[in-house]
């Protein structure tokens, strides 16, 4: 079984005071630490568990700058067999559509049974790349998978739908599945594990290798442009409500209503 997992390196902003840089288009990155996107980590684990059950090969791929290779190495340490780094100066500034173009170009013609993504990324949070690639490669897809089994040329997937329900689907392989967190318990990658794969040469493919037109990708090819980033109006710590109990509760109700809580 040939499984490909598309992963992404994202910034962990949980403990950081977010600042928007001078261009207004990016965050000040000084304090960021980076790691594999949480959803993608579950996707890698799902791929590895399928490989352990059925045999085959798992390949991790990412689109990004040199530093993004880190997540591929992590995937190798987890047990992926191969990694492919899609990197080229003209990829920079790609929107999700551009990323999907690059991934599709890299995957086209590959002996692929299953293509996994994390459902969304912690930074952009749009949840569209997997669907784009499924559309571009014309593969059937299920999103938000919470369990994934393969039997012969059919994958059985349950996935989250509205109202706390789950639906079970059958997919003809090859197919795309985007994975929801909690589908499994991703294995730990020790420092030693990372060091053991530090010597592996990870192949890099650029725009020429993929047969892409440079104008299709990168900032110039982006169909959706970022115009500005701004911070939502919000104080640092809690707005304390004061007054009589009645007044407090009325104020609270207004705030709840404004924030979609009623």
């Amino acid at each position: 079984m040939d499984i490909y997992v598309c992963i992404k390196r994202v910034a962990d902003t949980s403990e950081v005071d977010i600042e928007i840089d001078r261009t207004g288009l990016a965050l000040t990155e000084d304090d960021f630490s980076y790691d594999i996107n949480e959803w993608d980590n579950f996707a890698v684990e799902a791929a590895l568990q399928l490989k352990e059950e059925h045999g085959g090969k798992v390949t991790a791929l990412t689109v990004g700058i040199e530093d993004d290779e880190e997540v591929l190495r992590r995937a190798l340490a987890m047990g992926c067999d191969e990694a492919l780094h899609l990197s080229d100066p003209c990829f920079e500034g790609s929107d999700a559509w551009g990323i999907a173009q690059i991934l599709s170009a890299a995957l086209k013609g590959k002996p692929l049974d299953l293509l996994l993504f994390g459902t969304v990324s912690a930074d952009e949070g749009a949840g569209q790349t997997g669907g784009f690639v499924a559309g571009l490669l014309d593969l059937p897809m299920v999103s938000l998978a919470t369990s994934l089994k393969v039997n012969g040329s059919i994958a059985t997937v349950s996935h989250e739908v509205e109202g706390g329900l789950e639906r079970v689907r059958e997919l003809d392989l090859p197919a795309v599945v985007t994975v929801q967190t909690g589908i499994n318990e991703p294995r730990y990658v020790s420092i030693r594990g990372i060091r053991k794969v530090s010597g592996i040469e990870i192949p890099v493919s650029g725009v020429g290798d993929l047969g892409l037109d440079p104008n299709q990708v990168g900032a110039s090819g982006a169909r959706v442009k970022l115009e500005e980033l701004f911070l939502p109006p919000q104080g640092q710590s809690a707005q304390m409500l004061e007054g009589s109990d009645d007044e407090i509760i009325d104020k609270l109700l207004d705030l709840l209503q404004e924030n979609g809580g009623l």
Binding site: S14, G131, F132, L144, V168, V224, L253, L262
Partner: protein, 317 residues
Amino acid sequence: MRDILVLIEDLIDAPAELAAAARCFGDVQTTAFVSGGTESEHQMLAGLFDCVKVAPAASDANWCAEFLCAQILPLLDSMQPHLVLMHHTNNGLDLAPLLAAKSDRPMLADCISLESRENGVSAVRTVFGGKVHARISATDSATGYFATVRSGAFSMPEDTATKSGSIVALPLIETAPRRRFIETITPEAGAVDITQSEILVAVGRGIDDEDNMEIVEELADALGAELACTRPVVDKGWLEKSRQVGTSGLTVKPKIYLTVGVSGSFQHLGGIKGGPFMVAINQDAAAPIFAAADVGIVGDLFDLVPLLEEKIRERKG
């Protein structure tokens, strides 16, 4: 006049919200697409949109992205709408990117506001778990645009279901789906998955006694929320482990997080992700929860919680 095609997946609150979102584009011709549904539902849609296109339901009557793509793509070809609009829900995640790719339209996902531009569309969406807002735009597209909007982000004045749109039945386009429905799993009664809840009421040890759980249960019920809790509450056996939020419990991503008697230990806060609107009610003004919350109330929860519950029920009617 510009055409907007609205894809309807849920017939309860969604149509009015989508009609409101379409209004951001001024004077437009709106068409609603729905697969299946009853006649009265179609009538309801006709009150909100200029035209309602009704495709046959999928044979298994379940949301099937592949089936829907096959029904919608010819419609896009014939209508050439300026914009396709749907909700960024689980079903939206399943269908929208696929359809946007197949119809070659730039997609603006999970928008919380929309704006028409002379040469395109601009939107605001949240990034980095809601910590940052981004204004994005797509312009000069020859194929039109696709946008998904966040549930609850657009609301419609009450009096707007005044249209009397036409209702048109679409022919069934046969597909040989490579993706098939097997079954729907309903969670067992009693088994809750708080990781999927949009509104959570979290209880901490400030609740003091198991008998007091009742007042927060009532509050959760009034809010339509699930109950969550901190570790000590589980330790005491007042709530089950499947409701514990924190480093040794579950990670939740609600939109609203209302805490009652929660001090705000790092273990507990470590389980709250996605930047929800957080309200804290606690007796101790120095409790660390107030550093994490958006709104804080220092006071006796035994007075405040029942009052809050009562007023919520009043407002909800």
